[in-house]
Symmetry: C2
Subunit: 523 residues, 2 copies
């Protein structure tokens, strides 16, 4: 397809693009979220592959949601039908998938840094080629994009950054830069030439603009306006069926009652189910933009000033504020409440988005408290508990991107016996897998996974064999904590740890992935 | 002292400041690095505490090295003599130390985020007061400062950011913004008013400028030029005595021989001992500025383009690029070599700088290799090994901020018996504590701590009692790995894990801290 494209006369490009969009939409519509981000850059994608000699020339996309058309142009049109399903292609860029996917991207704001790397490598190798990164206006709020623009802007390499501006990523774009439309001033202050093209959905105009840019030396920003079509329905969660619905439901009550609580979210309101609350509780809901580090330290600042900050953040993006959690929140012992959404396997988004590291990370930090509700009502109970009694230090409430049934338990209890039996074998589990498991024998659920409750050791000492279940990877975490606790017992119970393997787990339905990766006989 | 200060006529301020600087220098000179950063802002510090009604008004410093004069003004003059020694005050800002230390800061670029938090909390509480953050030009290269300026610039709060510009942090300031001197353009693009004052060491002029700024509404940046006196000698390491010297020594040979290796460092050349190499190998040494996230993704970009990137980064700052390590390097399996400096306890810098989390973090990531040399020559051997044979994926070489003797072993071996005995007790250790330990009985050193070498399990199975030593905290790490390995052995050896406790460890000499925190009988 890419050879056909390059053989076309420019005037044929609009029809080619339209046909391509139709073909892509026929394959992915109704199944895939974020399709509009890709359709918005259909003309840009075609123009880029028409002008550039990819994959010899380098094209880097910031976040893969923009790249469905790119996948189609580069030989993966038919694969789109099975995108994000088991065995199918990824919804994001992926190096193993195609030589045209030069750099993987599931998290925002990395593209200009990767571009910097290519420039540096090319200079060292004495290699000349075109090097282009495409970044959205939402991703521009992430500090790494500034770091990269400021650094690469000082190096003098030939490099082109295309700023794809359509007023948003998944959420609307925050920050003064976008509100004031001062990208030109900003770009020039960082050493980049700046050109604006209004017609970002005119493929012929784009071809000309890109050629013009590539003919110039040095670092260049081409700012284009694109229009996102309205293709996919906004995220909504069926009442009572997901953790996300229960979180939003609880938050509505809490924000009505507790006017001193402020919820911060780094551009994740839409996906979280909190979208409607943002409109109703504007003063208490702060969308900071895609900037996890800033969000966490801002919350620490609120707490230091005596406020009550709650941070809503996905597990996978919490990784981007790890140092701020350690340095600004935990070391200072500040009472920041974290709603860690999408903890555990996330399903179709795959390895860039699974939340499988944070439980181990967090349990290693001195003085933190970690809660893992087993269902939506338990989550609500936790949130209500914290609204009523502010924690004395950092608290992390981790919940799954998963269906949940609820079972009319609203009060918070740090642990529960899900079943008991006359046996010397004990199951210990935490989080939503507790409710997925067969309740056989002795089964203890830890709603507060860390620190352990006082009698946990004495309880463990009653058993000969202890199975520990956690939807997490790594050498520490719950399994590591239990191991430390039983080490000195005489006799020491036999320990069997059930956790996710130390591999990057592919996309697929969460339940299938859990079964495939070691939890099969227990679910 | 602060009451005396506020009672002075403005014309008395220069003499007051001079006297204060003399008194501070008399107490800390020759002992404390980074003193010049504080002396450069002596006039600013005096002017701020003169104009502001601290601690009711809020003053936030970015990185504590700027704040020695602040400590003196706020009642800690005499304490400066014992700063950074056991029982003495911290070298950084610290909330527990004084109500004037509103927000702790050992890592750069966080101040404007904390300021945002105060603004948000104050608005919710209906509270009016002055709110000021001081940030250096070096810290401005960190993306979090952009995130915060862009966000706070859109909120319309009254807030003052003072940009203290003296051409550097510990290293010279990188990036186009500083090189081009375009701070005004940059500030205005992000919604801030901008004022420049050349006389940043004129306390009377500063008092006027600060008053002027505070009289205006909205977000304001006051950019001042200050001059750093030349007080402390540049960091140099005595030949053969530290890991840092050995690293620099090895790198000189390697960069001479291997022209394809590129070393990236986020503004840590000076402290690392690599300073002189930067001058001699300019093309191969890239100082990116204070921007760990960008540095790591740039390295990934270099690797993706077929280059050989080595990243030099302190353990405590690696925390700031955790997500980029996971998402851009490890998930993509790219061969980036990390020289993780200051792994383990760092001594006088204290809890913001101890490198006690990264070993656990890294061992939880699929497919990484982690090496911990036990002395300087072993470190050199590792670096030479990697220069000769590029790794196939991510490799982390972690070394201590510690003295080392060397012992004429240059070749890399993944493990070594340091002593053997006819006993059923085994010691297993990794990193530089191996060389600090009494060599008694059976003592196995793991130079490659992860993944374990093939015969490790069978070796462990020969013993009744295994002691595991690591200069690290957390539930996983080496201890967790050994626990998993011996779990199914029959009989299972008794395990005793020796690691740092789950607390934030204060500043003090590394050896004393190790002894105090559980390693005493073994060193």
């Amino acid at each position: 397809m890419i050879t056909d494209l390059r053989a076309l006369e420019p005037q044929k490009l609009p029809a080619f693009t339209k046909d391509l969009v139709d073909q892509v939409c026929a394959r992915v519509r109704d199944k895939i979220t974020h399709l509009e981000s890709s359709v918005a850059v259909a003309e840009l994608t075609v123009a880029l592959h028409y002008v550039l000699n990819t994959p010899e020339d380098i094209l880097i996309w910031d976040v893969g949601h923009q790249a469905y058309i790119h996948k189609a142009v580069t030989g993966r049109l038919e694969d789109l039908a099975n995108m994000r399903t088991p065995g199918g292609i990824s919804g994001f860029l992926k190096r193993e998938e195609s030589p045209y996917d030069f750099f993987g991207a599931g998290h925002a704001s990395t593209s200009v840094s990767a571009l910097t790397g290519v420039c540096v490598a090319d200079r060292a190798a004495g290699r000349e080629r075109h090097r282009v990164a495409v970044i959205g206006d939402g991703s521009m709020t992430g500090g790494q994009s500034f770091e990269a623009l400021n650094h690469l802007g000082s190096l003098g390499h030939n490099a082109l950054v295309i700023l794809n501006d359509n007023d948003g990523s998944i959420d609307p774009t925050m920050g003064a830069l976008h509100a004031k439309g001062t990208y030109g001033q900003y770009a020039r202050s960082l050493g980049w030439s700046y050109t604006f093209v209004e017609e970002g959905n005119d493929v012929v105009a784009l071809v000309e603009a890109i050629k013009d840019q590539l003919a110039q030396d040095g670092p260049k920003i081409l700012h284009i306006r694109t229009k996102r079509p309205d293709l996919s329905a906004p995220k909504s969660y069926k009442p009572g069926t997901t953790f996300q619905w229960w979180a939003a439901e609880a938050m509505r009550d809490i924000l009505t009652k507790y006017k001193d609580i402020q919820v911060l979210s780094p551009a994740m309101f839409a996906g979280s189910g909190f979208g409607p609350l943002r409109e109703d509780f504007g003063d208490q809901f702060l969308d900071t933009g895609i900037n996890e580090a800033h969000t966490v330290t801002t919350a620490a600042g609120i707490a230091a000033a005596g406020g009550r900050p709650w941070v809503h953040i996905y597990s996978t993006f919490l990784q981007r504020a790890y140092d701020q959690i350690v340095h600004d929140v935990v070391l200072q012992g500040l009472p920041v409440v974290f709603l860690v959404d999408r903890a555990g396997l996330v399903g179709a988004d795959g390895p860039t988005h699974h939340g499988v590291f944070d439980q181990g990370l967090l349990m290693d930090l001195p003085g933190v408290v970690v809660w893992n509700p087993r269902n939506g009502e338990a989550l609500r109970g936790m949130l209500q508990e914290v609204a009523l009694n502010s924690p004395s230090g950092p608290l992390f409430i981790r919940y799954s991107k998963a269906r949940t049934e609820g079972e009319h338990r609203a009060d918070f209890t740090p642990y529960e016996w899900l079943s008991k039996a006359d046996s010397k074998v004990l199951w210990v589990s935490t989080g939503s897998i507790s409710d997925l498991m067969k309740n056989e024998g002795n089964h203890l659920h830890l709603a507060q996974v860390w620190p352990f409750f006082d009698d946990f050791g004495p309880i463990l000492a009653n058993f000969d064999e202890i199975h520990v279940f956690e939807e997490s990877t790594g050498l520490g975490g719950l399994g590591g904590g239990v191991a430390a606790l039983v080490e000195d017992m005489v006799p020491r119970p036999k320990l069997v740890l059930h956790k996710l393997p130390s591999t990057f787990i592919e996309h697929g339905p969460r339940l299938s992935l859990l079964k495939e990766h070691g939890f099969d006989p227990f679910l």
